[in-house]
Symmetry: C2
Subunit: 319 residues, 2 copies
Amino acid sequence: MADLRGGIDLGGTKIQAAVIDGRGEAVGEARRPTPTSGGPEDVAAAMAEALRESAQTAGVETKDLIGVGVGSPGDADEKTGVVSGARNLPGWEGSFPLAKNLSDALGTEVKVGNDVQVATEAEFHLGAGREFQSLIGVFWGTGVGGGLILDGKPWLGRGAAAEIGHVVVKRGGAKCPCGRKGCLEAYAGRSAMEAEARRQHEEGHKTDLFKLMEKHGKPRLTSGIWERALDHGDHLAEQLIERAVEALGTGIASAVNLLDPEAVILGGGLGIRFGERLMDPLCEEMGKHLFVDERPPAIRVASLGDLGGAIGASLLVSR
Amino acid sequence: MADLRGGIDLGGTKIQAAVIDGRGEAVGEARRPTPTSGGPEDVAAAMAEALRESAQTAGVETKDLIGVGVGSPGDADEKTGVVSGARNLPGWEGSFPLAKNLSDALGTEVKVGNDVQVATEAEFHLGAGREFQSLIGVFWGTGVGGGLILDGKPWLGRGAAAEIGHVVVKRGGAKCPCGRKGCLEAYAGRSAMEAEARRQHEEGHKTDLFKLMEKHGKPRLTSGIWERALDHGDHLAEQLIERAVEALGTGIASAVNLLDPEAVILGGGLGIRFGERLMDPLCEEMGKHLFVDERPPAIRVASLGDLGGAIGASLLVSR
């Protein structure tokens, strides 16, 4: 029991906490909804509770963990433990000393890192990227996030590298949730896809997407709803998924032309759900834009599933 | 005299050779046209002659150089010294042991590397990039080439990284000389710009570009001809340069969103000629697509000029 760490993946919808052993296996886990009102303190309190619960299921106290890592959205400063501008969390436009707050609550050292970067590192050390020394992690979900491993080490640039969702795929193209035009995320992010589906539905295009959403009691078009719609042969869903895959193939090819990595790891809610199903069209779209097309990188679907973020976060502790 | 190296920049138009001292200064130089017929042996013979001539002006024999570096187009394998698929050189579609051939001719060790990567390294070690630890070199000329320095070291990927000219700026866009669609080079490469100017001219658009080319006895639209046309207020030239700058800003922003480097170094024939003049519109176009737009990277024009390639090539020797 001496070698246990905590990991918390802080998402816009849910908080996933886990206690991880020395081999990277989860020995306890818990999940809570992310508070939708209040402020950073409320989110931190929910995170602490989730970690305590996962420690309980593992039969330890949080103070006995050798540390806790947090994968966070926004600008997470690994050195200071401060998280700023996490705009999809309530009242978190400014800065909040998340590591300090959680460390006081849990009685052990806490480190913070970028959520997508730590998920990429988890896949690199323990998941689908184990056999490679350089890779791009592409997390296809609500947005499109990225992480980079170059020569066996994370590449963070000046702290904000790997924004593959904001690689431009079409100059002057669709409006992105970030406010700019033509980003990969403007075509492939689930938020942007839902907005486009709603727009076309309101214009009179037929689709069962929103009926399925209501029927299954979901507040938004989840990856499961998109899958059901595809299974029903819903034309608009097919069209928008195809458009997303075209954009993903283009953006990933641009990144590969720039970095020439050994592998691309496809994760995220949509990536994990559709990775195998859409692998062929994705490779085809990517192939259209690869400069060295006779030896494309390996493309793998992330293998750690929903726990990848929390496992990756726990790896921050040993740094 | 003990510390002299040779450097050869092998271009599609000219061969630039130089003898470089320990401080990175050229103490002898010579230039020859690249043979337009024959095969790799003929090109190598012209390279050897150019280097011998530059050694003569430096007052040394080539066998007394501690080595010679070559910056080459195509696929230059640093380990084996073989150059393959240099399609803008005569009869060089296959592989040729360039280092071995030149080493026999010159009586000293010869190393080969990618032309744009060595020019980037020259700017990093001795030129406009000296104060930075991470940078993207963008060489805007006949094509658009790139080089990467990350954490103070070249990043080559699996040997073909930094192809910023083939980052896609517009999915489904203009045809690129590489055969794909929408690449940065399809809008900003001098070859592509000349082809577009010719197409529009033949369609009846007015321009003095080709008159200026003939008047100055040039076989193509050189960077000097583009500059003259801009100075005359030639509308088509202005339009095509503006389109190139938009594409450059977009492609560079995508690369910055992915790598978050400290600096971008703009070189190449067009880059050096227009860098200062077009810096403001370039930064503006880039700013439209930067994800972290409050702290853009430094943008500098390459400072080693025409000799940068040969100086960078000479740095291969000490590796």
